[in-house]
Symmetry: C2
Subunit: 216 residues, 2 copies
């Protein structure tokens, strides 16, 4: 198809497609004449993925490029590829970390046998965790780390469902996209469903409580 049809089928305007082409987010089409290129279903698929990463995942152009690189790297086990995608979509957070928060993270990872991940500066994921605990500590929430274990307990149920989902999508193209969708769309879905879980549980526990010290 020509770029006009690609725009029509994807809902992405032609100038935006050309921008993605220049930024390397979309592979070039096959030239059919000096100023006309031909695009196929793979281009359409990739274009939809780029849009989803940017619009729902909220990723920057640079981060989308990193994710696509991780996706396109061949000869990696799924386990490693998943790790690379997750690193790419994890924002490291502010540079200044509370040493006690770093210790919390190290102890947490140690408790769960992830001894290779204890250098929080080496991974965006551990850095993100240490940054959140640092921020909580700066607000006096030193015991926020106590939530890490129940979080992991709940998230293992979720990870099991995610992985089963990925395994069900095992054609070469699908499995990679399913990982990205499962991770990034999953983060958003998780955030939203967490609100519902809060509403359910707090409805059960807190609905009659008023902020203490404030009269009704």
């Amino acid at each position: 198809m020509r770029v006009g049809e690609l725009a029509k089928r994807s809902g992405v305007p032609v100038p935006t497609i050309k921008y993605y082409l220049r930024e390397g987010l979309l592979p070039a089409g096959v030239l059919t004449s000096p100023n006309q290129a031909h695009y196929d279903e793979e281009h359409l698929r990739r274009l939809k993925l780029v849009r989803a990463l940017m619009e729902v995942g909220g990723l920057s152009i640079a981060t989308v490029r990193e994710v696509l690189t991780a996706i396109d790297t061949r000869d990696e086990s799924l386990h490693h590829k998943l790790g690379a995608v997750q690193e790419a979509i994890s924002q490291p957070g502010p540079a200044e970390l509370d040493p006690l928060a770093i210790k919390d993270v190290q102890e947490f990872f140690g408790r769960h046998g992830q001894t290779e991940c204890v250098d929080v500066t080496e991974s965006n994921v551990t850095h993100m965790l240490a940054a959140a605990l640092s921020a909580a500590r700066s607000l006096g929430h030193n015991d926020f780390r106590d939530l890490l274990d129940p979080y992991l307990e709940g998230l293992r149920i979720i990870a099991q469902a995610d992985l089963e989902y990925v395994v069900r999508h095992t054609s070469p193209d699908d499995v990679i996209e399913a990982m990205v969708v499962g991770t990034l769309m999953g983060d958003t879905v998780l955030k939203a469903v967490r609100r519902l879980a809060h509403a359910q549980v707090s409805g059960e526990v807190l609905s009659d409580r008023i902020v203490p010290g404030e009269g009704v």
Copy 2:
């Protein structure tokens, strides 16, 4: 304390503090002379909260203002206040939604008795969920909705831990901050710990798998 000491104790530069004052994120100090104001521990506390919301939560000035408004509204039950904070920190996502994704969300909420939330355009949370499912559908992942139930199951464990955490912090100032910390820092912690859960579960399930169709 004077603004210089507030800057020193919070680690936030004076010009930034003045910017927050102009933007209404920080209440004005008490004037002790025509061009000198006095700030107290409440200002320091609020300033740390604003920084945490922006740096770790990644919120914009406008969203921080909404969150603070929700926090400062008096005479609301905790349950309602929690809802208001969660609305404020939920990005609604792109406007165009797949009608089938809206149906998925409505069915999901219906299954869990949240019949009052079925208009996805009325709540940022439901809109965010529908947007993520729309994006997944646009990539051919029509069965991504099957993850909603296991997600809720895992997140109820997490919500229970969150709520217990909030209930433990019951002084009038603490309980409100604990809600914000629990929700927003919690989102970040959740994202990071989810990576660990994925690593654990995928290490168990997938470590020997190679992307199908690619030779080793």
